[in-house]
């Protein structure tokens, strides 16, 4: 089946999310859709999937115009979508999830679960998915859950499969497996639209590439294009992809963590006996697939976790048991992983956000009164210095793009006298230009002698910035290895395998 989008335009008020976008995908082809966050990729796919109605333009299937009023229409026409966030019921089995939405029933309305089981086995065998139809989805690893989503789409006879940022939650090995699956699907005649912002993956998998920037198609480079060419096209200007940094000049140990154990209210252990140290002027990268204890580790350091055992000593100061405020006062800078949830107050102005962790005294508060003039001057200075694109310091943080929001946080944290910087996912959902900037700031912080704990699920980021890499798996340290460790080794470690000679 051939799918063509022709001059699709979608507006939200005055914002043009998709501006006359055209693309074609033939059966047996992988079409890569490349663009930064907010470029309009997801909007376009939601138009295709019937979630939004296009204001102009048309969708053609096998050269016949079609009109989807809702996802049901799109599914019936043979379009399948695997969302970035899975749409699965965790307490249902694989077969139950696959039949959800088009349940076949026997006499007296009894669910025909056997038919669904058979269908799962059939598709699973055809592509070598190794899926157990009776396994509960909540017990499956993320990579396997994604296969369930794919089987779900295929079981509805999807001929066009849309994969929206499918690798965001996968380990490098799982990503390789997914690429393999995509190739098999392609050979069996499925047309695939592969949405991503990762250059490496798109070059590896795609037969054709369409690059979108600010809602419009800016180019259709061949897959042989270089990373630099693709990045420049995606961002609109040449981008430095590698982080320039001098070798670390580590000083004495600054942060020493011993036997850290973090438990939640229900008694589940999230961080289990973690020990490490970071020296001055050194970046320790924490690698791992999302959900392996990284969040709890950083929150424990900040005093945000309730049940913490072990010790965390920063320059002879025990951080454990301190309130968040006293941890910050001890000189800890924190870039939280959930920017909008924990980093900013969306309805506060940029200036107000700049004093979020300094509302108790100098320099912004005196005699219980906010010093507007000092705050505004400070905010204006940082706005210029960090190249934060905004209409002014009075603009609400919620109205900024992800990259600029993150710059506000980075500016706030790096403006204090730091003894430790904890950066969790500092560039998640941030445009390439801002990534470049934030990375430079992190390296500069390291070079000024501050120890940095960098947590990221993007292996590229860890490799680019870290001086040493600690890999977490299920709350335990798999190993702490030097920066030059091959990606394959790191990938295996992220899956919990202890490589030889790398014991912590």
């Amino acid at each position: 089946m051939k799918l063509a989008l022709r001059d699709v335009t979608k507006r939200f008020g005055t914002l043009v999310a998709n501006d006359r976008i055209s693309l074609t995908v033939e059966s047996g082809e992988i079409h890569g859709l490349l663009g930064e966050n907010g470029a309009g990729k997801s909007t376009l796919m939601n138009v295709l999937y019937g979630l939004y109605q296009a204001d102009e333009g048309e969708i053609l299937l096998d050269d016949k115009p079609v009109h989807f009023r809702d996802p049901g229409d799109a599914i019936a026409a043979g379009i399948g979508m695997v969302h970035q966030h899975f749409m699965l019921v965790p307490v249902f089995t694989v077969a139950e999830n696959v039949m959800l939405g088009h349940e076949a029933t026997g006499r007296f309305g009894i669910l025909d679960i056997d038919a669904a089981r058979k269908r799962v086995r059939e598709i699973s065998d055809r592509f070598g998915f190794h899926l157990d139809p009776d396994a509960l989805v909540e017990n499956l690893p993320v990579g396997i859950q994604q296969r369930v989503e794919i089987v779900k789409a295929l079981s509805r006879d999807a001929r066009v499969l849309v994969l929206d940022e499918p690798t965001a939650v996968l380990t490098p090995q799982e990503t390789d497996d997914l690429m393999q699956i995509m190739r098999q699907l392609k050979e069996s005649g499925t047309a695939i639209i592969f949405i991503t912002h990762k250059l490496r993956e798109i070059r590896e998998a795609a037969d054709r590439i369409t690059v979108i920037r600010r809602g419009a198609v800016v180019g259709e480079p061949p897959p042989s294009a270089s990373n630099a060419e693709l990045a420049a096209m995606m961002v609109g200007r040449p981008v430095e992809l590698t982080v320039h940094k001098d070798p670390a000049q580590p000083g004495p140990a600054a942060l020493t963590v011993r036997d850290l154990r973090v438990t939640d209210d229900d008694g589940h252990v999230h961080v289990d006996g973690v020990s490490f140290e970071i020296r001055r002027g050194e970046v320790l990268g924490v690698a791992g697939v999302q959900g392996n204890g990284q969040t709890e580790l950083t929150e424990a350091l900040l005093g945000l976790q309730a049940h913490v055992e072990g010790s965390m000593v920063l320059d002879d100061v025990e951080l454990r048991g301190r309130s968040v405020r006293r941890v910050l006062d001890a000189g800890v800078g924190f870039i939280p992983e959930d920017r909008q949830g924990e980093g900013l107050v969306g309805e506060f102005s940029i200036a107000e956000n700049m004093m979020l962790n300094r509302s108790h005294g100098k320099p912004f508060v005196s005699l219980g009164t906010v010093q507007q003039r000092a705050l505004n001057a400070f905010a204006q200075e940082r706005l210029d210095q960090y190249d934060i694109r905004a209409s002014g310091i009075d603009q609400h943080a919620a109205q900024l793009s992800g990259g600029n929001q993150q710059k506000v946080i980075v500016a706030r944290e790096l403006s204090r006298d730091l003894r430790l910087l904890v950066a969790a996912q500092p560039t998640r959902g941030v445009d390439v230009g801002s990534i470049e900037f934030i990375h430079k700031q992190i390296v500069a912080t390291r070079d000024s002698g501050v120890p940095v704990l960098l947590v990221s699920t993007e292996l590229d980021e860890i490799v680019a910035l870290s001086d040493r890499i600690m890999v977490l798996y299920r709350g335990r340290v798999v190993g702490i290895v030097p920066a030059g460790t091959p990606r394959e080794t790191l990938g295996l470690m992220m899956a919990g395998e202890q490589p030889e000679g790398s014991a912590a």
Binding site: T14, L15, L302, L304, V324, G341, V345, L356, D394, Q399
Partner: protein, 414 residues
């Protein structure tokens, strides 16, 4: 309403220099966005809710009007009769309301003519005070439904000091006022403390504390050695001594007392607290995003307690206003007169901004004063005013409804 109604400027990204065309488009878009923000923002919603509520109120006035109903019976034959009746009924009703609330042109002398506006101010004062208490809690993300209990306790506290302390006015009156605010604050702070320490939801706690407070005050008023008037068997205290009564502002012919001045001071102080002080900054941060506040080292639990202390004090001031100003014949359990709950409406209509609350309090004060006149002269049940007030809240609480009725475009999520 100059306070924090900063003009929103939603263009997040400045377009790069080479795209001159796009800058022009972006500028246009900014202006349009700005206009749309203003027209679709909460101020407009509040105003439209008011208009809508008065329209629906008009329909209800018509239903209660005998003459309108009878002319509707032969509307086919003489429609003009019907429309005349409709016009007379509605214009009469709102005219009566105006006469009762603002200026009575039929008054015999000047004092009688301006008397309505002074009544409005008197009704408005406690609504503004309590509205500030509820609104302040809203800004910190808390629903203070405990206005009734806080007012009763504060009134009892102020009454106790007024009766049991003997001092010249310059000391006696401030002492009684402060005592009332402190008691009200502690009652509110209790709810905040329970939320901070145990996570108990403040809505449940404040509602239940209303009952506890009511019966506590009832008990105090029934005990000879606590608050009950000596030799009386009614649950009521002795009248307030003159040295602890808020002075009348315009002489004995008017009821207006110094409560409205206290209300204005409370507006100013609350405005400063919210918009200029470090405490207010933290209140707003906790209200807007408690997780971010916590991660930035703000003690969310302590903030909840502090906010409820101050909110209780402000609501308590309304109780003081009643006991020492409006009804000086003695503390009783009905001193709150529904103000504790009306304050929620006032805070909502005022969008929890001090100046908005001032405006909403004055409006509701006018409704109260005008409602009585409406009933007296036009025979329209005073309940219609309550209906209008309730409808305002209903429309405000359901902004999509108002937006749909007035066909204001709703932003689609991108």
């Amino acid at each position: 309403m100059s306070e924090d109604t900063k003009p929103p400027a939603p263009e997040a990204e400045r377009p790069p220099e080479e795209e001159q065309q796009k800058i022009v488009v972006a500028r246009l878009a900014t202006t349009r966005e700005l206009l749309r923000e203003i027209t679709t923002g909460p101020v407009m919603t509040a105003f439209l809710s008011l208009v809508l509520a008065m329209v629906v109120g008009s329909v209800m006035i018509l239903f209660t009007d005998e003459h309108v109903r009878s002319t509707a019976g032969y509307i086919g034959a003489r429609p003009s009769d019907f429309f005349d009746a409709v016009w007379t009924s509605i214009s009469g009703a709102y005219e009566a309301m105006f006469r009762g609330a603002i200026y009575n042109s039929e008054g015999l002398d000047f004092q009688a003519r301006i008397r309505p506006i002074t009544e409005t101010l008197n009704f408005a004062a406690p609504l503004i005070m309590a509205g500030l208490g509820v609104g302040l809690a809203f800004r910190a993300g808390l629903f203070n439904i405990g206005g009734r209990g806080q007012m009763l306790l504060a009134g009892a506290g102020a009454g106790w000091v007024a009766i049991n302390v003997d001092a010249p006015t310059a000391i006696h009156l401030p002492l009684a006022i402060i005592a009332g605010m402190v008691v009200g604050g502690l009652w509110g702070g209790l709810a905040g403390l329970l939320k901070a320490r145990t996570g108990a939801h403040e809505v449940i706690v404040t509602i239940m504390l209303n009952y506890v407070g009511y019966y506590l005050v009832f008990f105090a008023l029934s005990e000879q050695n606590i608050l009950q008037q000596k030799g009386s068997i009614n649950p009521k205290s002795a009248p307030m001594p003159d040295s602890a009564v808020l002075p009348k502002l315009l002489g004995v012919r008017f009821n207006l007392h110094a409560g409205i001045i206290l209300a204005l001071v409370a507006v100013a102080v609350t405005w400063w607290l919210l918009n200029r002080s470090a405490w207010g900054y933290r209140f707003r941060a906790v209200g807007a995003n408690p997780s971010a506040a916590r991660a930035a080292g703000i003690d969310v639990g302590r903030t909840y307690t502090t906010v409820m202390l101050i909110a209780g004090g402000l609501v308590g001031l309304a109780g003081v206003n009643q006991v020492l100003g409006t009804v000086t014949s003695g503390v009783s359990v009905d001193l709150d007169a529904g103000i504790g709950f009306d304050a929620i409406t006032v805070a909502l209509l005022g969008r929890s901004r001090p100046l908005g609350i001032l405006a909403a309090g004055l409006l509701f004060g006018a409704f109260k004063a005008g409602g009585f006149a409406m009933q007296a002269s036009e025979n329209i049940p005073v309940d219609i005013v309550l209906v209008i007030q309730s409808l305002i809240v209903l429309f405000i609480a359901a902004p999509p409804l108002v937006k749909a009725i007035f066909r204001i475009p709703v932003k689609e999520a991108a």
